[in-house]
Amino acid sequence: MEFIEVFSRILGSAVIFATPLIFTALGGVFSERSGVINIGLEGLMIMGAFVGIVFNLTFHTVFGAATPWISMLAAVIVSALFSLVHAAASITFRADQVVSGVAINFLALGIGLFLTKQWYDKGQTDFIKQPFYSSDVPVFNNIPIVGEMLFSGWYWTSYLAIAMAFAAWFVLYKTPFGLRLRSVGEHPMAADTNGIHVYRMRYIGVMISGALGGLGGSVYAMTVALNFSHGTILGQGFISLAAVIFGKWHPLGALGAAIFFGFAQSLSIVSSDIAFLEDVPSVFMLIAPYVLTILALAGFIGRAEAPKSLGEAYIKGNR
């Protein structure tokens, strides 16, 4: 059936688009649930993309086909460490969290481009030799309809992203760690009086966002951009931030929001094939994803409640 083919095509490219956003938005959820605003998601993605590409270029002869995965891991670690800057500024030094996040964005881009210039003596790297490739999931891809839609031509990283969303939900809502992390974002003093280390939890929240933001950035770089330049990450971090809020600070909500964006994007591309949309000026197709998002928010998503103490530095002994 043709519809299924078109749909699976839209879904396929929606998921490719959504995957890095899912990772990054999940990171945002952890950070913001712990009470730290993270406008620096963009910067964390940049750092992840940079590290992923550099690592991939440097070690592809050593690790062969495993290179992208190991590069991804490297990006996760470095970005998590990098996010410590945001954590230290906004948690320990009580910096305005928005300011600190903005600085992260500047810093990541500056460092990435500066080091690219230092190491490669040019403004952008070469193409990586070992990108991620999509593949079919054996056995499952033979299931009629569903097999074609969900198990053919996807990236493993996309499955990882979706699994990660459920894992994040599990961690946040089913484990002691999650309960504590959320309590710190809602009412840090209550958490403190219960013997929870507020600062430690917040550091962990921010570092998880660093790790996942780096993951998102590196996945993007190694599936779509294939190199690193000033234009590799352009706004995906902000879209991820939007997904965090759109998804009401819930991991599965963020997952849904990211996929929604993906759908809106790929619909706007596929729509040129749809007969009755053929004559619509292309600008309407270009802005459609963004307009749809606003309409969705205004129409039925509405008010979202942020974690209560989001954005407030916790000062021990203050009331």
């Binding site: 910096a95 928005v98 600085a103 964005n105 500047f106 481009l113 809020i245 600008v283 606003i294 509405g302």
Partner: protein, 348 residues
């Protein structure tokens, strides 16, 4: 040793110094001569009156986009959509600039006002959605940025031109350019917009600190419940804040459209005037004076940086890092304050 007042002044100054020192360290580590680097930066920004003029030219839109972000923040709203509001302001000013033949006294104010209105309209939408439906302004403004980008391109391509990449140049009667300023500065693109920017800083200060509307806006920014209790219309104030913020941003666009470029071309991405405005506002602690000073710092660094590769072989990217570090140090002023207070105690 230090009074509190002095500490408040010292902190941003120290932050800038610390940022520059950190930049120097990075230069040393990578084998550049920091003295050469900073000398090149200084010369690039102030080397002669041309560069000074260019620095002012760069500072002008930064002041306005910084004011836009700051104004919204003072009312408790994070306007990430300044970028888009700059776009529509730029477009509107050029549109008026190329479409009419009018005497300058009418044409120029009309073009400037159109920019302010366009920016205001672009700010009105997220304001309205926030006020009436509680939709988070951050998402809506992010989305509005993209819409502004694509719509501006489409308008330039299909309404303002016949498929061209750039509009024609605006009529001289709508231009902010100044013959004598240009001549004085060896043809830098400094323009009268700078006066508008400074005037708007005064306007912002006046609105927020001297008018009843500003009193309401600040009250709403701090505590919506109490504002409502006190009889202020919270929703209307949210909209007002976004509209005024958008108007400032639109004016920043007019600076580019009527001053620096005199036209608008199809853009393949954001200009960053708006995003840099976030940093300018935050660096300037969301006050009018602070924004002006921070815009100067930004403008100097940005224009001066262009000179660093040619004169000292230092990559411009380093300046991004220095800017980021300065922002961090300002943001983490608690740390500096803490150290200063230490000194103060020991000094006793």
């Amino acid at each position: 040793m230090f009074s509190n007042r002095m500490i408040n002044i010292l902190i941003p100054v120290l932050s800038v110094i610390l940022g520059l020192v950190a930049g120097a360290v990075i230069m040393l580590v990578f084998g550049y001569n920091p003295l050469d680097g900073f000398a090149a930066l200084w010369k690039g920004a102030f080397g002669d009156s041309y560069f000074f003029g260019e620095t002012i030219r760069q500072v002008t839109p930064y002041i306005l986009s910084g004011l836009a972000v700051a104004f919204a923040l003072r009312s408790g709203l994070l306007n990430i959509g300044v970028e888009g509001q700059v776009f529509v302001g730029w477009l509107a000013s050029v549109w008026i600039g190329i479409s009419f033949e009018l005497p300058m006294v009418v044409h120029l104010p009309l073009a400037i006002t159109a920019a302010a209105f366009a920016g205001a309209a672009w700010g009105f939408i997220p304001g309205l959605l926030k006020a009436k439906l509680g939709v988070h302004e951050v998402i809506v403004t992010i989305m509005m940025n993209y819409i502004a980008l694509y719509v501006s391109n489409a308008v330039i391509r299909s309404l303002l031109t016949d498929g061209a990449d750039r509009t024609e140049s605006i009529a001289a009667t709508a231009s902010l350019k100044s013959e004598w300023l240009a001549e004085m500065t060896f043809y830098s693109r400094i323009h009268y917009g700078f006066i508008i920017a400074i005037a708007m800083a005064v306007v912002m200060w006046f609105i927020l600190n001297r008018t009843t509307k500003g009193f309401e806006l600040r009250a709403v920014g701090f505590n919506q419940h109490a504002s409502n209790y006190a009889g202020m219309n919270v929703g209307r104030n949210i909209i007002t804040a976004m509209v005024i913020s958008g108007a400032f941003a639109g004016l920043a666009g007019a600076m580019e459209g009527l001053g620096t470029f005199g036209s608008m071309s199809i853009k393949s991405g954001f200009t960053n005037i708006g995003f840099d405005g976030i940093a300018v506002a935050l660096l300037g602690a969301n006050t009018a004076v602070g924004v002006v000073l921070a815009a100067f710092l930004f403008g100097i660094l940005k224009i001066g940086a262009l000179n660093m590769p040619t004169e000292a072989g230092v990559p411009t990217e380093l300046v991004e890092i220095i800017i980021a570090l300065i922002i961090f140090f300002v943001a983490s002023s608690y740390m500096i304050r803490w150290v200063l207070l230490r000194f103060k105690k020991e000094g006793k």
